[in-house]
Every structure is written in C-alpha cells, then in structure tokens.
Amino acid sequence: MPTIERHTTKERGVHAVHAISFIILLLTGIGLYDKSFFGITKLFGGVDLSRFIHHWIGVVFIISLFLMYFQWKGEAAVFDKDDKEWLRVFGGYLGKDVKAPPAGKFNAGQKMFFKMIFWAGILFGITGIIMWIPQILALPKIIVQLSYILHDMILIGLVMGVLAHVYLGTLANPGTISSLLTGQVDEQWARHHHEKWFKQVIKKGR
C-alpha cells in the first residue's frame, strides 16, 4: 500500500525525547505522591538518584517542549470552521458512524492537546524550579505551597490527557502509530483522518 511521510525524523525525534522524558519524570516523581508509591523510587536507584534524574530530565522535558512547540506551532495555530465543527462532534469519537469534518495536518483535538501540553509544561517548569531550590529563591511559604498544588494539578491533568492521547494514537485509530515509528502513513489513513493535509501533500507532489 502506498504511504506518505507524516513526520520527519527530526519531528519524531523531538516528540520521542519529550515523551520519554515525561515517562521518566512520572516514574521518578510519583514516589513522592503518596507513601504507598515510595517504593517506585527504587526503580532508579533510590530517592536521591530519582530526585537528581527528575530535576535534570525536567530540563530536557522543557527544552524538548520548546522544540516541539516551534516545529508544530504553525499547524497548531490554524483554527478554522472545520475545526470548530470537529470539536462540536468530538471528532466523531462518540458514535460508530459519526463523520468528522476534514482536518489539516492536525485535527482540532490534537491542536488543543498541543496547547495544553505547552502551557502545562511551562507551569510544570516554573513550579518545579520553585520546589527544587526554595531556600535559594527565598519566596514566601505560600508560593511554595501553591507550587505543590499546581504541580500536582498539572500532573493529574496531563496523565489523564496523555492516557487519552496514547489511546487515540494506538488502539482507537489503527494505522496511526507508524507516523511515530517510521514517519510513514498509509495514504488511505491520511485521506480518512487528515483529508486537507493529505490533499496538500498530494498537490505539492510527492
């Protein structure tokens, strides 16, 4: 079956670094969420090493976030009538035979997720630094307390969002995962899921 390129190697690399750093951050950080999770810190050689990894992978997470932001912000900035309609019908995910309006390189849901990831990541970084070196920043105690709350709120929101994101990219939409693995997708997949983008690519000529 004929395929077309959906993501370049660079695009996939940035996404992979961001995704893997998220998973590492989750595993090194979740040990402090509750006493019953503390054992997870052993996975990375104890709590001291976990913390060290968490801090510096956090930096990688933020850098890759910005790289991802700059590589996709063009496509994510577009928001037209079809996107509005897409959101209204929830991308056709709420029924078996609901037709979703044609999407560009990204559909409206992906664009919203992209923006959510970006702002959540920035807040993750800011609250993270406050918790990392509170004694150096010497901020009022309430700021540190609010950082704990915000960091956890973002965590909960992102874990929920990422679970949905992973589901939609794998089980819910067969044929999607190859866009991350090889960068190539089936033409018919592209026509079905991202019709406007597909037409653009065809027009430009392969």
Partner: protein
C-alpha cells in the same frame, strides 16, 4: 502509654539561653555565625543547626518596658502536619510517647514538612540535603532521662515529665495552657503571659489550608481522575471501538 511532654512557663524564663546551648551540646549541633540585629536575641531564629531558640519580645507599653521570652522549638503535635505530608515511610513519625521523630537517615530532603508546619519549625540543611528539627531528645527520654533543655533550665521554666501530670499541676496553679488541645494536643505546651500572637505563635494553630487541600482533596481527586480516564478508554473501546478507514486492515 504515658506521654512525654514539656511545659514551658514563660514567666519563669530569665532568657539565659542555657536551653539553646544544652540542645546544641547534646545534639552536637555547630554554632552558627550571627550578627547583631538590635536585640539580645541570638541567633535570629531556628535553623537546621539550632533546634531550640529563645525568642525575645521587647515592647514599650505606657512608658514601661515589657520584656518577654519564649523558648521555642518543635511543638510535637499529635495531629502533626509534617507527619501527614511526609512522603517517605518512617522518615517523620509520631511515636506513642508523644514525640514527633524525624529520622535523619530516612529523610530525603523533599521539604514538604517545611511548607506544612504551622509553627515554622523544620529547617533544611543545604549541605546535608536533609531537614532537621528537635526530636524531644528521644535518645535521652528512651533511657529515662529528661530532655537536655529541661534538664539544664536553671529557673525551672522548662519542665519535662508526664503530660497529664504537667497539665494537672499547671491547672492546680490556675494557669492557662497553650497546647493542651491544639492540633489534638501538643507535647510541648506553654503557660504564656501574653496572647500567643505576641510571641509569634498562631492563636489557633492548624494545618495550612493549602496543605489540607493538596493532600486531602487533590490527591484523592487524582486517583479518581486517572481511574475515570482509564475506565472511559476501556468503555470507548468496547462500546464504540476503533476508527477504521477504507483500505486499512
């Protein structure tokens, strides 16, 4: 089990700071370099190397100087916020004898307790990467000795003993006790001359709202939110199923 406690009658305090010194000596805490800040108070407050500290409060009222002292350290709350937020099993525990014990070996230096303590007691040591505070001389009391500060106090302002009898004694003397019922009952109690806030103590100590929201509301909400997402995904896969496209497998 009888509860260890200290009752500090501030009207008996002569601000000699022997409690400060004996605490440092017993716990082998180094002296901290300080600078003059217009008061005999020295150093300026608790730190990771100062677990007991005499606060000086100097005011002028109706032309008369009022000089008040408060020997201050960990209050050893029954419902201790620090124990509640500590994520490390066994690092901060409330013992049966009334001690809130911080195990240096287990502390990871996450500093959650610092943000949670309503009294501002725990302090972080940058060099060691751990938090420190008074352990009510657990190594002494376990061997039948009283705390170093109580032992050394020359004016008997700090008294160590069984909590119930300390309270009974103070009440027999007609004294009002700070800490008898606060936060479930503190193991370090005061008989004060002024209002608690005069000494920089909270009038009604409580777990900070932010801490309570964080761990009592948000944490369970996190479990609910993530479980609901997983449930929704499974439900979606069963009820609606994947989006297949023409020509695809």
């Amino acid at each position: 089990m009888p509860k260890n406690a200290m009752l500090i009658d501030v009207s008996r305090c002569i601000a000699c700071r022997a409690c400060q010194v004996s605490c440092k000596q017993w716990n082998r805490l180094p002296a901290v370099k300080s600078s003059f800040a217009g008061s005999y108070e020295n150093p300026s407050g608790l730190s990771s190397a100062t677990w007991r500290h005499v606060r000086f409060r100097e005011t002028v009222e109706k032309g008369e100087v009022k000089w008040r002292f408060l020997s201050f350290g960990c209050m050893h709350c029954k419902d201790a916020s620090c124990v509640f937020v500590c994520p490390v099993p066994g690092a901060l525990t409330r013992r049966d004898d009334g001690t809130v014990y911080l195990d240096e070996q287990k502390c990871t230096g996450c500093k959650y307790c610092i943000s949670a303590c309503p009294f501002g007691v725990p302090h972080y040591d940058d060099a060691k990467g751990k938090v420190y505070k008074c352990n009510l001389c657990a190594d002494r009391t376990a061997n039948g000795l009283q705390t170093a500060c109580a032992k050394t106090c020359p004016s008997e302002a700090i008294r160590f003993g069984d909590r119930d009898s300390l309270i009974k004694d103070a009440k027999a003397g007609g004294k009002k006790i700070y800490g008898e019922n606060e936060l479930g009952g503190l193991s370090v109690m005061y008989v004060l001359q002024e209002s608690p806030s005069f000494y920089g103590l909270p009038d009604k100590p409580a777990m900070p709202v932010t801490t309570a929201f964080w761990k009592k509301v948000l944490k369970p909400l996190g479990y609910i939110g993530v479980s609901a997402t997983v449930a929704a995904i499974i439900l979606h896969y069963i009820a609606i199923g994947p989006k297949r496209y023409k020509g695809g497998e």
